[in-house]
Amino acid sequence: MASPRKTASGVDPKLLIKDAAKLLPQSSRRLFLRGAVSLGALSMLTGCDIVDGPTSENVLRVISRFNDRVQALLFSETTLAPEYPESAITRPFPFNAYYSVDEAPDIDDDAYKLEIGGLVDNKKSWTLPELNALPEVSQITRHVCVEGWSAIGSWQGVKLSDFLKTIGADTTAKYIWFQCAEGYSTTIDMPTALHPQTQLTLKFDHKTLPQAYGFPIKIRIPTKLGFKNPKYVTAMYVQNNDAGGYWENQGYNWFSGL
């Protein structure tokens, strides 16, 4: 802990802690909802027969799942997120996590391997030189945080749909689950994984991904909120069951599409 740390260039440490704190609930992480007025009207709207005297929290979760389906319908595989010129890039691009940048995983690139699992033909793990040898795509897109702020960044890496083809993934499977070095995780839907702008990101602004932005791998998804863009990714599983995710399990909307 006391060893000198590499500070990611262009990251304002003060900004980091402030941003990280906001995603957290004020008192605890439970999703107790103060001000629970009668939600009879809302439960009727969902058309669901909730027999056992639903708490407002349960009703809200049911509606959130309904919103997942609505968002999946609104999602278009051909609608691209707007791209921006280099001059529009937010500098410094903010670091954001539920921990401070000092606590961000410090991954040894020589030992690193991306673990592949689930419904794929070739489960061989991938080293960074192997991933960097794959054809590179680039995007300058807007990262939108669930908190409301946004920032424009420049990301380079492998088109995720190409990578899925390379490893022989079953693209009829429903989900892809990403596991991260610090214990973070998220699950995304297959149509989003196959979207042309969804990227297995290895670089930020044409330089090796800094530790603050997710070294060695971030999954950049400009059609989803920031928390569905995992950093420090260590494993990727193609599967049919929804494994949830760090924030999703605490009540944030699962689909969180843009």
Binding site: L31, G35, A41, L60, R61, E147, T223
Partner: protein, 212 residues
């Protein structure tokens, strides 16, 4: 009843001697809207606090809904359906029944000015609740417009990729957040006046509950 029918009198009941000010659909959509808008504002304030647009504006949690960001977002994206569906029903019926045309038009700047001046002098008559004065017409038209703006700017923040042309119409994602905020502020300002006046003229509140 039979007596009335045979004696050729207008078909009214005794209590209905007073004119009907607000038909049932107006009262129902009004109170659903009241519930929806309170949930939207309360949860919206909590969402705002996660990333405030103005350093000097912060909404204390006691006045907000949802306790923390995830809870507030669940409320916001649940109540939005109630608000939007009810709003569409209200505006559709308002147009189809001719109520908007009858109640809100005509409206001229001169009438608004005169009625506003009369109101300030305390001389604006409020005897006939079935007729809106020019200031009321302007406020009701304005708040309906604010409802349209808040729904569309909200959609453009929610889906800046799928609805990217709508988002662009509002000046981009970041600007759309300000538009959404100012539409909320407009509605809150309207609500302040609206509720104060309803309490000052209690028969108007009674009319929105019982219709007369």
């Amino acid at each position: 009843m039979t007596l009335e029918a045979t004696s050729n009198l207008p078909v009214t009941t005794g209590r209905a001697a007073e004119p009907l000010i607000h038909p049932r659909w107006v009262r129902i959509t009004h109170w659903i809207n009241a519930l929806a808008i309170l949930m939207m504002i309360g949860s919206g304030w909590q969402v705002y606090d996660a990333s405030p647009l103005f350093r000097f504006i912060y909404f204390p949690s006691q006045f907000a809904l949802g306790e923390w960001l995830a809870g507030a977002l669940l409320w916001h994206f649940a109540a939005m359906w109630l608000f939007v569906v009810n709003f569409i029903v209200y505006v559709t019926l308002g147009i189809l029944t001719g109520r908007f045309r009858r109640k809100l038009f005509p409206i001229s700047p001169r009438d608004v000015f005169n009625d506003f001046a009369a109101a300030l002098r305390g001389k604006l008559a409020h005897d006939d609740l079935t007729v809106y004065n020019a200031v009321q017409r302007l406020l009701y038209l304005g708040v309906i417009l604010a409802g349209v703006v808040i729904a569309l700017s909200g959609a453009s923040i929610w889906k800046p990729v799928q609805f990217k042309y709508l988002t662009a119409l509002f000046g981009g994602y970041d600007t759309a957040r300000y538009v959404h905020f100012f539409a909320m502020s407009t509605i809150v300002a309207f609500l302040t006046i609206h509720v104060a006046l309803a309490l000052l003229v209690p028969k108007s509140l009674r009319a929105m509950i019982f219709g007369r």
